[in-house]
Amino acid sequence: MSVADAISLYSIITIWFLMIINVILSVGGFLYYSRCNETDGSIPLPEGSYPMVSILVPAHNEALVLNRTVRSLLNFDYPQDRYEIIIINDNSTDNTVELIEKIQKEFPDRRLMILSTDKVVGGTGKSNALNIGFSVCKGEVIAIYDADNTPEPQALRLLVENLVADPRAGAVIGKFRTRNRNASILTRFVNIETLAYQCMNQAGRGYFFKLCTIPGTNYCIRRSIIERIGGWDVKALSEDTEISFRLYRMGYYIKLLPQAVTWEQEPHLLKIWLHQRTRWARGNLYVLAKNFKYTFDPAAGKMRIDTLYYMMVYVLMLTSLVASDVIFAGGILGIIHVRLAGFSSLLWIMAIIVFIVNMMLTLALEKNEFNLESLGLVTIMLFTYAKLWVIVVLKALYLTVTDKIFHRTVKWDKTVRYVEDTAGYTVANHHPKGGI
């Protein structure tokens, strides 16, 4: 058996294995969403029993988008006296403070706070900012929103109601949508990807295993849990994934509530997207390395399924995609010759069709997403956008390894924002120094 044969065999088995898992997860996702769509997600609490909620919004030079976010947070249909908004102005150099102060004056009777940090205590990332915000907040329930979010009015209420209603739920997460899907072809791809991810991976895992990963925004969590785990891990670039694993280990589950929706701004330029996704991938690799030891620990419970799942994604899927691409390119160039027989081309074509139909199913569960344009985009993104994932993870791996070797401190990489018009199109990019 030649090396090319072995690699091909590995790729084929792995890709089909992962595909079967994805199809199964999609079935679960569809059933979960269907069940959720039967109701509006509300579990009304007796009047006066709504818990105090602290909404933490970490912001580092987010003035460009923060105004819209804060106004959306103030517009929640949650009892106004039962929630506070804490903007953690994390060493910003822009006009965040002035902006918040202006809103404070506009809504003097609302609990809107701004907590500014300096270079000494702040500016080291989202986890640190959340820990600072948590140290001053008073709510029994902590809700987290990113600075670029515009949640729907009922989102917080639905999240809190569902959290309170089920004591086994450590956190309840909502759905995030792409606010600027029309900004570029990239944001259209991201829109489809995020919808598919939440339906297939989040809802699918939630349906079968009651496992979901906290998405970093639009979620609420019990204060007691944060206190017990000692806050967010400041070393984690993806603090959301990291905290999810700790929740599992404590015996809680994370509930997905697709009716609680927030709209967020996604990167509209490839460069920005690559930075963001590399950060996520590095964060997930960190979490995987940190939690891999629990994979074979029965006491870790269901968390082992998620560590295995992440292992499959970051090891099996990555290596098999890289290998299949190398074999494909080598075959075209006539460098690599594979003797492996077995799978017919028809099967591969059918697999591509399954992928496309699978993606279309996730879009069929959303309003205004199931159309011919989406079908075209899904087909194109299979051969373009999906390939970028390999580059992102390879880059993340490289940076993770070199950081270890050269003992570099991992730095938070802020996603660059831009001004949108009402239809979600780009108006201007945000300059890191605060200008436009």
């Binding site: 058996m1 088995i13 969403y33 059918m350 199913l361």
Partner: protein
């Protein structure tokens, strides 16, 4: 009164088509590639024993006939080169064969011949008035019947030209009958032969030609036409064919005392597998009982170098030898025998059998058939299909009756019986000395003993015990590949079920979305109405 029989021509060929046609016929090389220099006269070109002069323009039937004539000459052991009438330097050749020429071309070519030179006319129009044929008068008729030995053939829709010869032929053979008149099918004088057929595609026409060609060529030697051998060859013998049928056929041939050969497919890998051993058991049994083993050449697809072919044949030969089966001859497609690339491969065998194949005959690397003839390879061509009951079918050259071993036992026996009925002399490759040089092995069969690299080899068959235990040494790759093939069905079903599910789910999801939309719209309207009140 004398008659001459010429088939109606359908010549409408362009000059370009002529060139392609001649190349396809496998006959013309230099004469067409270098039109100003006749091939045979080109400096340094090997000179063949026979010059064949062909028309400038030919139709498909004539091209095929040219191919067949060339093949028959090679089977008789003569080299041949080609030229058109305009370019032919007939004085340089002792034997000149004219095919399909019109009256003027015949007059020009034959007129320049010396008396010592010998001329064969196949399907040519005789000139009305020439020194060689005297005063010839011709009359057209419309149908004729030809008889040659016991064979008969009728021709319709032809133009018959009845000739009155000024000089009576010294030699005649066969009869042409047309409208109550008769004339010889073959006629000639001392150094001249004429065959009336214009086409040499059917078995009878080829039979007539090959016999008359041999008589004409052997005339100078004053030898009697020898009766060549007919070989019975079990063809398409593969390890994965039904071993029982093969075994029964072999046993029947042995019991009937029929000499036969077995043409085996080349095996390159897994020659130590139990299936191969079982297959070779039958071959060894046949070998012990007098059968000659023939190694069939690989089927060439795409560009293959001489070294690759040689390497594959070496491998196949060695694999059979390792199993105690010793091929003494090679079987190749007909297109190989005119191709220089394959000639060096064929030279490793004393005897080469060939079969008709669909591939175009190419003359690449050969200035004429002389290279092939000088290689001293004993060529055995396929038997021309005989008319039933033709006991005196001409047998001028060795020929092979190929019997498809994939047919039923009954059919094989019938074919073998028919072949033996038509064969005057039963051939046996083991009755002639054979020599094979493949790789580092030199196999010599001297009609009694076999030696490989000067070491005696026993052909005695000893049944081997099949223990039923064999380590196939199948690694993960082979197991997985086999498993993948088995998984194909599972995955196809899985994919189909997934597709059906997803499509149904999409329909349900869309219906649910519609329902949800209207439900919430209604609810919203109700709330608004309550608010107004």
């Amino acid at each position: 009164m004398r008659f001459f029989f010429v088939k109606k021509q359908k010549v409408k060929c362009s000059t370009m088509f002529k060139a392609a046609g001649l190349l396809l016929s496998g006959c013309i090389v230099c004469s067409l590639l270098c039109p100003k220099i006749p091939a045979a006269a080109a400096e340094g070109a090997p000179k063949a024993q026979i010059l064949m002069v062909v028309p400038d323009e030919t139709d498909e039937e004539q091209q095929e006939s040219e191919e067949n004539i060339a093949e028959l000459l090679v089977r008789l052991g003569y080299s041949v080169t080609f030229s058109t009438a305009a370019q032919a330097e007939v004085s340089a050749y002792h034997n000149v064969l004219l095919y399909g020429l019109k009256e003027d071309a015949v007059r020009k070519t034959a007129g320049s011949l010396l008396k010592s030179q010998r001329l064969f006319l196949a399907g040519c129009e005789l000139p009305a008035d020439s020194e060689m044929f005297g005063n010839v008068q011709k009359t057209k008729i419309s149908a004729a019947t030809a008889e040659y030995k016991l064979e008969k053939v009728s021709r319709e829709s032809v133009t018959l030209q009845m000739y009155l010869f000024g000089i009576s032929p010294e030699y005649t053979s066969g009869v042409l009958k047309a409208e109550g008149e008769t004339m010889p099918l073959v006629f000639g004088w001392k150094n001249v032969r004429c065959v009336s057929f214009a086409s040499y595609i059917s078995s009878m026409e080829k039979n007539v030609l090959i016999r008359e060609l041999q008589l004409w060529l052997e005339q100078e030697k004053s030898s009697v036409v020898s009766s060549a051998s007919a070989y019975l060859v079990l063809d398409y013998v593969y390890p994965f064919a039904d071993p029982d049928t093969l075994n029964q056929m072999v046993q029947w041939l042995v019991s009937e005392n029929i000499s036969f050969a077995v043409s085996v497919a080349p095996i390159y890998t897994h020659s130590d597998f139990p299936a191969m051993s079982r297959f070779c058991e039958i071959l060894k049994y046949a070998q012990e009982n007098g059968a000659a083993i023939i190694l069939c050449a690989p089927v060439i697809q795409g560009d293959t170098t001489e070294e690759q072919i040689q390497s594959h044949l070496d491998s196949a030969f060695q694999n059979y030898c390792d199993q105690g089966v010793y091929p003494v001859a090679l079987e190749v497609p007909e297109s190989w025998i005119f191709n220089g690339t394959y000639l060096s491969t064929m030279k490793h065998f004393t005897t080469v059998l060939y079969y008709e194949d669909a591939a175009d005959i190419q003359m690449s690397g050969l200035q004429s058939t002389k290279d092939l003839i000088s290689s001293r390879i004993s060529l055995i061509g396929p038997a021309i299909m005989m008319q039933s009951g033709d006991a005196e079918n001409p047998s001028c050259c060795n020929r092979a009756f190929y019997i498809d071993s994939t047919l039923s036992l009954k059919q094989q026996k019938i074919l073998a019986g028919q072949a033996m009925d038509t064969a005057t002399t039963e051939g046996d490759l083991r009755q002639t000395k054979q020599c094979v040089q493949m790789g580092s092995r030199k196999l010599v069969w001297d009609t009694e003993t076999m030696q490989i690299n000067d070491g005696a080899v026993s052909l005695q068959y000893e049944p081997a015990e099949d223990t039923g235990k064999y380590d196939y040494k199948r690694d993960v790759f082979y197991r997985a590949t086999a498993d993948l093939q088995q998984q194909n069905r599972f995955l196809t079903v899985f994919v189909m079920i997934s597709l059906v599910f997803f499509i149904c789910a999409i329909v349900l999801a869309r219906r649910q979305m519609h329902r949800r939309f209207f439900y919430f719209e209604e609810k919203k309207n109700e709330t608004e109405e309550k608010g107004r009140k």
